[in-house]
């Protein structure tokens, strides 16, 4: 399995699983306007997943397309971070999960625009526009809730306390990254992390939120080791293709 395939799968699975999580809000948003905003974000992410997984299929060259990769793999073959598979919780938890992710995705796509891989650079350029808006949306909500009422502040601080342990996996690297780095396809993740840290620090400061001092971290998704949430997500995501193989609509 090539490093490029593996890398695109990681990106694509983050988009796919987070997009699925966001789509769970459809019809359940706190207000109609926000319901539509979250559904838009879900659709953007699923669109990114489509581009990425289709490309991964091309790179692999075994006749699998984006649909096959999305709907017909087993849980250990999904390489999304643990962060994006975490349950939606309340609105603030969803927003916090999204913010931690968007703050990482924006600088990542900015760097990938200059990738030596033309297709990856094109996908990054298109996705960046969407991601900038996602970040604006999630950051503003973190600030509103954090610097809002006593209850909203307390609840989103709790969300941060819960989700913080999953944030470091966004910057996970292994031999896959090392190989692509040497080929000029990706840049050093440390640059992305530095920007993420600045964004996170500034937004939390404005939101009067405190970064947890407990630095215990949880990782595994990038290696296919998922939390118990993953099985439930895949059961829903894959039901149609498993029950009615090859169906199209």
């Amino acid at each position: 399995m090539s490093a490029l395939f593996e890398y695109i799968i990681r990106l694509g699975d983050d988009s796919l699983i987070l997009g699925h999580r966001m789509s769970e809000w459809c019809g359940h948003g706190p207000i109609l306007e926000e319901d539509i905003a979250m559904t838009n974000i879900a659709l953007d992410l699923v669109g990114q997943a489509t581009s990425l997984l289709n490309y991964a299929g091309d790179v692999e060259g075994n006749g699998r397309d984006g649909d096959k990769l999305a709907f017909l793999r087993y849980d250990r073959e999904y390489k999304n971070t643990l962060l994006v598979e975490q349950p939606n919780g309340d609105f603030g938890t969803t927003i916090m999960r999204q913010f931690l992710f968007d703050a990482y995705r924006k600088p990542l796509f900015e760097k990938l625009q200059n990738s030596a891989d033309k297709q990856l650079s094109a996908i990054a350029e298109k996705s960046l526009k969407e991601t900038k808006y996602h970040l604006k949306h999630s950051a503003e909500w973190v600030i509103r809730l954090g610097d809002g009422t006593e209850e909203s502040h307390q609840r989103i601080q709790e969300s941060l306390n819960t989700l913080w342990r999953y944030s470091s996996e966004l910057f996970y690297t292994d031999e896959v990254d090392a190989e692509l780095l040497s080929q000029g396809i990706i840049t050093d993740i440390a640059e992305v992390r530095a920007e993420w840290e600045v964004t996170v620090k500034n937004v939390f400061e404005e939101a009067t939120l405190h970064i947890p001092t407990n630095n215990w971290k949880q990782e595994g998704g990038r290696k296919g080791m998922h939390s118990e949430n993953m099985g439930f997500i895949l059961a829903e995501l894959q039901y149609m293709q498993r029950a009615y193989p090859n169906m199209e609509w």
Binding site: I31, L32, E33, E34, I36, A37, N40, Y133, E140
Partner: protein
């Protein structure tokens, strides 16, 4: 939990450069910035626009519906205000 509703905003969209902003509907938002973002999410999902105005509904001063007779009916009988009494010369298009 507070039951207070967010203020209502009127949303105007410019569909392309050179055209005027048109009223497309109204929505709820906590402040002007959120109103523009919600306008983007609610009313431009199918590439309807390139610019958004948001005006808080309470700032719109409207005509009184009960005065419609005196405000609008008088113009119904003044067809000469429409430029329909001119002969358009041959060769003039887009009229």
């Amino acid at each position: 939990m507070s039951k207070k509703e967010w203020p209502l905003w009127e949303i105007f969209i410019r569909s392309k450069a050179g055209l005027n902003h048109k009223h497309v509907g109204s929505l709820r938002a906590a402040d002007a910035e959120m109103a523009v973002e919600n306008g983007r999410d609610v009313y431009t999902r199918r590439s309807e626009g390139i610019s958004i105005w948001a005006v808080e509904s309470k700032d719109v001063y409207a005509s009184d519906p009960t005065e419609a007779d005196s405000l609008f009916e008088p113009s119904d009988s003044k067809v000469y205000r429409h430029p329909t009494f001119y002969d358009v010369p041959d060769g003039i298009s887009h009229m």
